[in-house]
Subunit: 164 residues, 2 copies
Amino acid sequence: MGVGMAKATKKKTAAGVHDHRRCVNRALSSAERACETQGKRLTPLRRRVLELIWDGHAPVKAYDLLRTLAQEHAGAAPATIYRALDFLQDAGLVHRINSQNAYLGCNASDHPHVGHFLLCTSCSNVVEFENDGLAALIDEQARAQGFHVDRQTVEVMGLCRSCQ
Amino acid sequence: MGVGMAKATKKKTAAGVHDHRRCVNRALSSAERACETQGKRLTPLRRRVLELIWDGHAPVKAYDLLRTLAQEHAGAAPATIYRALDFLQDAGLVHRINSQNAYLGCNASDHPHVGHFLLCTSCSNVVEFENDGLAALIDEQARAQGFHVDRQTVEVMGLCRSCQ
DNA sequence: AATGCAATGTTATATTGTAACATTCATAAC
DNA sequence: GTTATGAATGTTACAATATAACATTGCATT
């Protein structure tokens, strides 16, 4: 199927497909390094789940992952997915988008950072952004109220450039 | 039950109870005004759900509301609660805390504002805060990436002053 | 080989949220 | 006052998301 598709749409999408494939591979390599560093085990199952998450451009639902995984992995059940997701989140390889009950590969697992996202309500694409000033301002505001910050999430809903 | 309790703990909590009662009443009055202004109908059912939300200090789960409501309202079903919650959110009287699947009364329904929260992971209390600079910075960051913002939510997890 | 712990398998169930259609209620038009 | 209308609620069923609990497997160390 992959071959036929590739031929049929070669000129227009082949490069894009390969780019994306490269991007996924880069993410997986980076994930392996990150786990090595953290002394965590990126087992084949966990690695495969991470790969499935990266396969799409938008956040993925747990049960969509499950349906896909089940086609290639007999014992797949909800716990299978949720355990993998828990591991991947702990390892900083995946973020949960709370407003969507969905999961997104993290492209910056090599350094600590907070979860700040722009969510397009039209095309469902999500981009993670980093803004140290923003993180600092949130921290400062919290401290001013005597609050000790462990974690912060920012989810911004709206329209991406191409959907406006 | 209420009377016995009140007597048993009169000195220490009676004032607090009354303060909270006053606070709830203020919120309900304010909600009535807000609906009047917006041309929306705060029916007895919706008003009661809002009151139940305000009864606790922490965000409330939909099915907890349902259990409580069901004791006094025969036809209460999930849809009953979710419809009321949808209405109250549209009217700006209630916020949803995405990271907890829980709902919180809004103390500033008289003016437009964004949903910024400090969530204590120890005592479960939540405080909403307003920081125009923060909202503006988020907006600016988004615009810089060509993103048009409709709504923003900030959820900060950590420890409140008294839980540190 | 024996032990122990992490990872996964397996089954069941809890929690959260919607869909779809029927009925009731308030309001305005007649 | 009746009637037409749409909003609100009642009612039943089910979908979607997530966790609990215990069994089994696999891997690393002794």
